[in-house]
Amino acid sequence: MDSHNRDLYLYEALNARVLGVSMDDVITNKFFAKAFWLDFPLVSNPLAWMGKQYGAYSDKKPFLPDGSVNNFGRRTVVVDKRGIVRYIKDGSPDNKEILSLLLKLEKEFRGK
């Protein structure tokens, strides 16, 4: 998360906006954002519909057999200006890869 915050000026320069989504409630997200000095919005999605839509939430019961919570997996999704998903990656985000893609998309958009 702090890496996205660090690169926020670049995302903005490339006309991209960052949105974090978690199943935590609004208050928890508020404290999380404060603890990590986050300057981009965090969306609270306890009913997990966004996670399902973007494939970050496995279609299982809320509690897994080992007792752990069926939470969102860590997934990065880039959606372009037409609403088309252009990038999906699970695990830790690769900011350089994301920024390179955004540069390519911006060039594509500007016809350069």
Binding site: D2, S3, N5, R6, L8, Y9, L10, A13, L14, W37, D39, S92, D94, K96, L99, S100, L103, E106, K107, R110, K112
Partner: protein
């Protein structure tokens, strides 16, 4: 007689098989691309690290590389005499923790997470403005201990403002609580930092240029 000739024939097949395998493997060995050397010595007493950096590499220290991205770009480690954990590590990290683009703000954020997982709560014993590679920098000195694990640490961190980004050099020495810190290791770290040069533009500098071109 028939049995002997059968053995001879069988041996012949095996010899031919091994010779063929040897030839094939030999062919593979010569065809495999040669791995590029990570550090190439220069006549200035420094090394080129890949084609990216030049610095004075410490003699007798192990090279550490991050294979999965993340915490640091490159570093060195030395196991030292004494009970565990007697060792020193230092590294160059192009993405130090935090997101503030100014040195003071970044230092405040950085200090909240430094050695976060070790159970040591290091205190900043000194904080001073300085220059590294001719760039504005902040030197942070830390010391801390974990009385449960019976270990202590001493660190020096440089946060350096490079263009729009902040990069860092970090040295941490670990000792058992009753151990003595070794200042010489920090001098080796200083040599590394003071000799450090970038041989080409970083990803972020190139990206900045590309963005400027797009906007221009």
């Amino acid at each position: 007689m028939e049995k002997k000739s059968a053995i001879r024939l069988s041996l012949g097949i095996w010899v031919a098989f091994f010779a063929l395998t040897g030839l094939l493997l030999g062919g593979c060995a010569t065809m495999a691309p040669e791995k590029p050397k990570i550090m190439i010595p220069t006549d200035r007493g420094t090394v080129f690290f890949l084609d990216k950096y030049e610095f004075k590499a410490p003699v007798g220290w192990s090279l550490m590389r991050n294979l999965e991205g993340g915490d640091f770009e490159l570093g060195f480690m030395k196991m030292e005499p004494g009970a565990f954990p007697s060792q020193t590590t230092f590294m160059y990290d192009e993405e130090p923790y935090g997101s503030s683009p100014n040195l003071e703000g970044r230092a405040n954020q950085y200090c909240t997470r430094f050695l976060f997982n070790s159970g040591i709560m290091p205190e900043v014993t000194k904080r001073e403005k300085t220059r590294v590679m001719g760039l504005h920098a902040l030197a942070l000195y830390f010391e801390g201990e974990n009385s449960v694990q019976k270990e202590k640490s001493k660190s020096k961190v440089y946060l350096v403002k490079k263009g729009n980004r902040i990069i860092s050099f970090v040295c941490t020495q670990w000792r058992p609580l009753d151990g003595q810190f070794d200042i010489q290791a920090f001098e080796i770290f200083e040599n590394f930092v003071q000799s450090f040069k970038f041989l080409k533009k970083t990803f972020y500098e190139n990206l900045d240029e590309e963005i400027q071109k797009l906007k221009g």
